[in-house]
Subunit: 350 residues, 2 copies
DNA sequence: TTGAAAGCGCTAACAC
DNA sequence: GTGTTAGCGCTTTCAA
């Protein structure tokens, strides 16, 4: 350690103050201090007050490692998301964090970049903290991870998507459903050659399901379901433009496109404008996630909105309830989604 | 604990496997296992291999609390940001997380909502984990937090903004500078009644500094510096529209507005369109953060871009270097920012 | 309401 | 290259 503590408020010797130091200063036993800190109601008023003063004076901070080791659990909750680059997950994380922090729990962050092997590793590493519970986004995990999580004996929430057989607790909405709804919306608007275009779709189970729902709904209506385009760069306006180029190169006759997210859709619309291609006249464009860019584009983009931040908050609440009160009756919450209709899919050729 | 472990891979008795169980199974002492796990090169090949197998078979996971307690430090780094709702901070966090995870460190997340008292509390709580280092966004902290952090004897990075007197390490760009640059850009484009409009500006030190730089640069040019509007709702397209309304109500003659972020600017542009107010003809509009909405708006919005994700990555690298090699020679990195000029501030009345 | 003893699972230091 | 010993700072019994 290259640095050295120089703060005034410290135990003699320059060490960080321990519960022992606080006890000595107050003149009680160490365990009394521990109790005064964790369950103030069980110690006498005067003692409680003097402990408070000594803690303040010494700058005492509970050592979480010691506390966790002795008690076998810690007030920490690992939260695993695919990525922070996508606003949808940032919003989810925000919801979780706000709710958990309010209850004195800390979030340990992990990102998988949509890779199952990374998730396996992360779960292993994070379980080492003896967490009170764990929140995962997504419902598709390796067999090893599922076994490990069940074996850990802690509360687990799978969030964002809906699980057929939840590991424990589950909150989200149907990604398959969003695909079906998008196809229905475009087809019912009179579009006949309806495409999907997205990036990094193979690894991301959410888009795999969305595409499956999308294609199924098209087939049901007797429409072709093979206008599917997958890119591999991350989402950006530029990527949206490129996707549109590729799409029109491969399928020149498409009359509607559902993009993996609003940023791609907005980028495609910019490209349409460059090409002088009318939206929605010639081509209907639809996105997902209800990103600001969808309302700010011209034309404004029809999108799919889901309460991502609220999913995070609900996930956190379900977890806390389970930690405190045991398994709840409601193990699975479907928060739903809705289509926000805007200009980019208006009209069509009914 | 309402649940119970039922996994197959466990030590006898249903407990979670400890290093002791691994040692017994391999037939070596416990410390040998510990070494095989942390510094494989110091144990013999065969032992290393048998430990690996036993770990696998038992599903052993290192107990971080025990490890941290025994060693006095942990591979965990608290990262404190004002909020996750703003994409700029999500990008920063993403950069930190990616870099740290790659080196086997875990991120403990804290958000302050721009409140100094919350930051104080968070720092206290998070130091309890005996972290290897700590990353804060912002450079303005309470005296108590400064003292505490210095006393903790760990590496600390203040990120995003530039500090006059860094606590330890510092990486970011000048927020005052962005304000000056925005004012200069608008004034040099011939605008004479130049306004600033933002939300939640009192608590956010970054915007306080940006406004200070903005006003100073206007005064330097002999322009009025009192066209300043502060809202108090969070940033959104709607809030941008409202700000524009208020602004034109109070200062009907403004000819340019610098918004606190691109989303507000985009919302204002939508409102201008509703009112039939020409941008940039009648009013120049400028934003900040280089959000997608700035390129996707019509007209496209001039903005200020800074490498937020990279700041996070650099912060993480500086921290790791400091943890591993002691205080580095470079303690302060200015990553700079740039104005991205687009249509929304073109022309003017030179 | 308070205290004493024991030990959580690991690592540092020092043998061998 | 491997083992022994002694804690790290707290919480959990159990007892007073």
């Amino acid at each position: 350690m290259p640095r050295r503590g120089t703060a005034t408020a410290m135990a003699a010797g320059g060490r960080r103050a321990t519960i022992r130091d606080v006890a000595d200063r107050v003149g009680v036993s160490l365990i009394t201090v521990s109790r005064a800190l964790r369950r103030p109601e069980v110690v006498s008023g005067p003692v409680r007050e003097r402990v408070r003063e000594a803690v303040e004076a010494l700058g005492y901070i509970t050592n979480r490692a010691a506390s966790g080791l002795a008690s076998g659990t810690s007030r920490v909750v690992p939260v695993i998301v695919p990525s922070l680059a996508r606003p949808a997950y940032a919003a989810f994380l925000d919801g979780v964090q706000a709710e958990l922090a309010g209850q004195g729990f800390q979030v340990l962050l992990g990102t998988t970049e949509h890779r199952v092997d990374v998730e396996d590793q992360l779960v292993g590493a994070l379980l080492g903290w003896a967490p009170a519970g764990l929140i995962l986004s997504g419902v598709d995990h390796s067999a090893g991870t599922r076994r490990r999580l069940r074996g850990a004996g802690i509360a687990v929430v799978e969030a964002m998507d809906l699980a057929d057989e939840p590991l424990d607790l589950n909150v989200g909405f149907s990604h398959r459903g969003t695909g079906e709804a998008a196809a229905a919306h475009l087809a019912d608007g009179g579009r006949r050659r309806v495409a999907y275009a997205g990036t990094q779709t193979e690894m991301d189970q959410e888009s795999v399901k969305r595409i499956a729902g999308f294609r199924a709904a098209l087939r049901e209506r007797g429409l072709p379901d093979h206008y599917i385009l997958r890119g591999d760069e991350p989402s950006s306006l530029a990527a949206g433009g490129t996707l549109l180029d590729d799409l029109l190169g491969r399928f020149p006759d498409v009359d509607a496109v559902f993009f993996g997210d609003d940023v791609l859709a907005a980028g495609a619309i910019l490209e349409c404008r460059r090409r002088g291609l009318a939206v929605p006249g010639r081509l209907a464009v639809m996105g997902a996630d209800d990103h600001e860019v969808a309302s700010a584009s011209t034309p404004a983009i029809t999108t799919i909105a889901a309460p991502r931040r609220e999913i995070g908050a609900v996930a956190a609440r379900m977890l806390l309830d389970s930690i405190r009160g045991g398994p709840p009756e409601v193990r699975r919450v479907d928060v739903g989604f809705r289509i926000v209709e805007r200009e980019s899919t208006k009209g069509g050729r009914t």
